[in-house]
């Protein structure tokens, strides 16, 4: 292994600025003469806007302007677009309502934007916001899937009958029906996948900065994908051509999917900045984040598994209702379809699968990606169902999984739900996890817990996910309205240092380190002489950003392809400098040498020659050493693995404590094991959060009851154990790095492992099912027979 190269646990380049307080997050940026924006949001779930009276607010000293939806509409501002189109079973397109950045006629969730106040200070903006008098005619609302589905339910959108956005299906219905007809036994389950709020530690923020002299706009925003924001906001909302709009996503304090979408506030500050000809800054406070950041999950499903008498899976039938909220967010329709139902094969050879998904509008915050986005919902459903099948058949849960695994020799494996898995060894990962978890001695630990009055349980899950989104032609066939490639530029500077421009975006993932490791590996340049630039459309040519565990598998491969172009050109230059044939040049450890001789030239000297071309093959090669590659993957990547959780339940109170957690994952080849382990720790903790602590709750009138960290419970340090993490590597077969992606796996594999463990702990209490989060009261009630 090269020091600081591929596979090394290199300490992170980016850390110095963060540990010394010198990171630069959007709220840390202030522009000269900036104004502060306060958004006026709907306090009701559904209502007609009769009148917005802004006179008192405008009259307040220090207030510069107040804008409403009517002002934006009068300027011809467009609606916020949705990035995916889904077609219903009957061939009709999804219902796609308009989504103005400021609502002008009707509000449709608590938090919907109605007006914006611009003032000299934030305090004045907030004072003035209270003086904006909005007269609403309140209308009946639906706050959840159940009330939205009821007969005669109030409609979120008149043209979405029954509040259905689309009614979609995947798989072979008749083959599945036939499988059930021939089955010896059937297991059924009803599953709620609880609604969550991402709660990245950095609240969203945006600064619009219009330069009247150049007629150019700059938007600083907390985004995972600044180029996507430029594309969506520039083309669809504000009609600003790309060359006049620069979007900068500087240090971003976590995303977890909630910072993918294009948000109204981005358009509002950008548009308003031109209106008042001053920079406009908006920063959410946390209460505002709770009612304006896209929420995640929120599925209700019924599933049935058909089995032979020996426990072979024959067919799977799934029916899901998914809550999309009031408007379609950027990836909203993709999450419960393409990112969910295509994963329902899991790691199993179930020959027939049919899934139908009814996506519903409700008077709630729009729902979009949250870490895993669709895949955690699939894995939770499947792994709870498999555990229930194990209980029902009396087959050991590990044995039942093993019996049904897709075997290494089956790859490439075409699932009945559209995907083709390239590679994997599910049993190997499970065996590693079982060993690391000391599963064999669980009974001893259970006895030890019992001696302390605690009920101990163990739970397992074996998950698969599709990452590295996506092959553009596949994504397009599935409804994506944009390509999903990635872009990397390698700029070798004259003195041999390297600047990489990547379309991936790091908001905690550590690309400044891992991508530099690839450069070290390929060019032999010193780690400290490499800079990774991301998050600025003014610097980086293009990119689709970071989500879906795609940075290494797509962005990393784009970078590798650009590095390969650099190597090729460097060899040409070296061949000239060394008066040798290009085919004889070997490039290794930063030296370009003529094979079989002691003649060589350092890469730095090649770089200098490229920029100071006094002795340079100008007739055959242009000066400079900079290359760009666009990479569109051939397939998704398929990380998989096995998670094993042990819990202790306090029988007096129902409190569940996760006491051991083991992850055995297959992420393909690993660039930096330290960073990968960290991604697993964080993902698993979010999964434990979903399983035990986190839950977004609306009351029947559409008011958010979990609207602060006082009520929405994020896992704290004393809620989670140390994690035991291991990996089993089957390299991805279709990218040069052999990588698959690791960002979401923790949140995908862990929730079913936790709940399976809790149910195992309650095995003496006749509890069959338990919905997430398994709060103390829910567990206690289940133990009382009130599950």
């Amino acid at each position: 292994m090269t020091e600081n190269g591929f596979g090394a646990a290199v300490r992170r380049k980016e850390d110095y600025r963060f540990i010394t307080g010198r990171g630069q997050f959007v709220d840390d940026i202030n522009r000269p003469h900036q104004l502060y924006a306060q958004i006026i949001r709907s306090p009701i779930a559904h209502g007609k806007i009769n009148k917005v009276d802004v006179d008192a607010a405008i009259a307040m000293s220090g207030v510069v302007a107040v804008f409403t939806g009517a002002d934006m509409a009068a300027d011809g501002v467009g609606g916020i677009p949705c990035g995916w189109g889904i077609t219903s079973k009957d061939g009709s397109p999804m219902v796609e309502p308009g989504h103005p950045p400021l609502a002008a006629e009707c509000v449709r969730y608590v938090g919907d934007q109605v007006a914006v106040v611009l003032a000299e200070t934030l305090a004045i903006a907030r004072d003035a916001a209270e003086l904006v008098d909005v007269d609403y005619a309140e209308l009946p609302s639906v706050a959840n899937l159940e009330s939205a589905s009821a007969d005669g339910a109030p409609l979120v959108w008149d043209d979405a009958k029954g509040n259905v956005c689309f009614d979609w299906e995947i798989g072979d219905k008749s083959a599945t029906d036939a499988a059930f007809a021939s089955a010896d036994q059937v297991v059924t389950i009803d599953i709620v996948n609880n609604r969550l709020i991402a709660n990245a530690m950095e609240p969203r923020a945006a600064i619009g900065d219009y330069d009247a002299g150049k007629d150019e706009y700059t938007l600083y925003t907390t985004s995972q994908n600044p180029h996507v924001i430029r594309m969506l906001m520039g083309a669809f909302v504000l009609s600003i051509p790309e060359h006049k709009l620069r979007v900068i996503a500087p240090d971003v304090g976590g995303g977890f999917g909630s910072k993918i979408c294009h948000y109204a506030e981005e358009a509002i500050v950008t548009w308003a900045s031109r209106k008042v000809n001053r920079p406009v800054k908006w920063t959410a406070d946390r209460s505002e984040s709770f009612i304006s950041d896209a929420h995640g999950r929120d599925h209700v499903s019924h599933a049935e598994l058909a089995m032979s008498k020996d426990g072979d899976f024959l067919g799977l039938r799934v029916s899901t209702r998914a809550n999309l909220g009031a408007y379609l967010s950027t990836f909203g329709p993709a999450v419960p379809t393409i990112l969910y139902a295509t994963l329902l094969a899991g790691s199993y050879k179930t020959p027939a699968i049919h899934a139908e998904v009814k996506a519903m509008f409700t008077h709630t915050v729009p729902v979009d990606s949250y870490r895993g986005a669709g895949r955690p919902e699939a894995s939770y459903l499947l792994e709870r169902l498999v555990d229930k099948a194990a209980k029902q058949t009396g087959i050991d849960p590990i044995e039942l999984r093993r019996r049904n695994f897709i075997q290494p020799e089956d790859f490439p494996y075409q699932t009945p739900v559209a995907l083709e898995y390239d590679t994997g060894d599910y049993d190997a990962a499970m065996v590693k996890a079982i060993e690391l978890a000391d599963y064999a001695n669980f009974d001893k630990r259970r006895e030890e817990s019992a001696a302390r009055g605690k009920l101990r349980g163990v739970g397992i899950s074996t998950y698969i996910e599709a990452c590295g989104i996506a092959p553009s032609n596949v994504a397009g066939a599935l409804g994506a309205r944009a390509g999903l490639y990635e872009v990397g530029t390698v700029r070798v500077n004259p003195t041999g240092s390297v600047t990489v421009l990547t379309g991936s975006h790091s908001h905690g993932q550590g690309h400044e380190t891992t991508f530099a490791q690839l450069v070290v590996e390929e060019l032999g340049v010193d780690f400290d002489n490499i800079d990774i630039v991301h998050g600025d459309t003014g610097k980086v040519p293009f990119g689709m950003g970071t989500y879906g565990s795609r940075s290494a598998a797509v962005g990393g491969v784009a970078l590798m392809n650009a590095l390969e172009k650099i190597r090729t050109k460097a060899k040409k230059i070296a061949a000239h400098l060394l008066e040798a044939s290009e085919d004889d040049i070997e490039f290794k450890d930063g030296q370009l040498s003529v094979a079989g001789t002691d003649r060589s030239v350092a890469f730095g000297d090649v770089a200098m020659a490229a920029y100071v071309p006094h002795n340079y093959p100008l007739e055959t090669l242009e000066p400079g050493l900079e290359e760009t590659a666009f990479y569109d993957p051939k397939n998704f990547t398929f990380p998989a693995g096995c998670h094993i959780c042990e819990v202790e339940v306090d029988p007096d109170t129902g409190v569940v404590e996760v006491v051991r957690f083991t992850a055995g994952d297959d992420f393909g080849r690993i660039i930096n094991p330290m960073i990968v382990d960290g991604q697993v720790h964080g993902g698993v903790t979010q999964g434990i959060g979903q399983a035990l602590y986190e839950q977004c709750v609306y009351d029947d009138s559409g008011q958010l009851l979990t609207g602060s960290m006082m009520d929405y419970c994020l896992p704290k340090a004393d809620n989670v154990p140390n994690f035991a993490v291991t990996t089993n590597v089957t390299p991805c077969t279709h990218n040069v790095l052999g990588v698959k992606g690791c960002g979401e796996a923790g949140a995908i594999g862990s929730p079913p492992a936790v709940i399976n463990a809790v149910l195992n702990a309650l095995s003496d209490y006749n509890v069959d099912d338990l919905q997430m989060p398994a709060t103390p009261e829910r567990v206690w009630q289940a133990m009382q027979g009130n599950g």
Binding site: I19, Q24, A123, D251, V252, G682
Partner: protein, 157 residues
Amino acid sequence: MSINVSFTLNGEAVSAHVASRTLLVEMIREHLGRTGTHVGCDTSQCGACVIHVNGRSVKSCTMLAAQADGAEIVTIEGVAKNGQLHPMQEAFREHHGLQCGFCTPGMIMSALDLVKQNPDPSEKEIREWLEGNLCRCTGYHNIVRAIKAGADSMRVG
């Protein structure tokens, strides 16, 4: 009402004329330009804003600037001395105790207060101490390791 607030910030005498409703974190970030201290919530849960006031860790979002008049304040910017990282900062880097970096300043300031009171904290004590500091990225595993290692190297000196 506006008032004059003066205190010592990382060893330097500073003052600003602020509205009485100005929070300490707002004065530090907006008036004094030290943006290492972050605001992650509005209900005193997240701990991104933890600083030291008169040697104790506090949430600077839940304190008025006025209440800090005359105090000794240390923020994340004052932890490294003469360009040398503090052992606790080194430990966070060495043990990958941060990902997005947003909670990190508050985590480090909180950890330093813990170690002051308990120079050799156990893993359990560290986890319990951190109940006022939320992190969404790391799952705490490496933060706990970093604080333990930071405490160890502070004891050794």
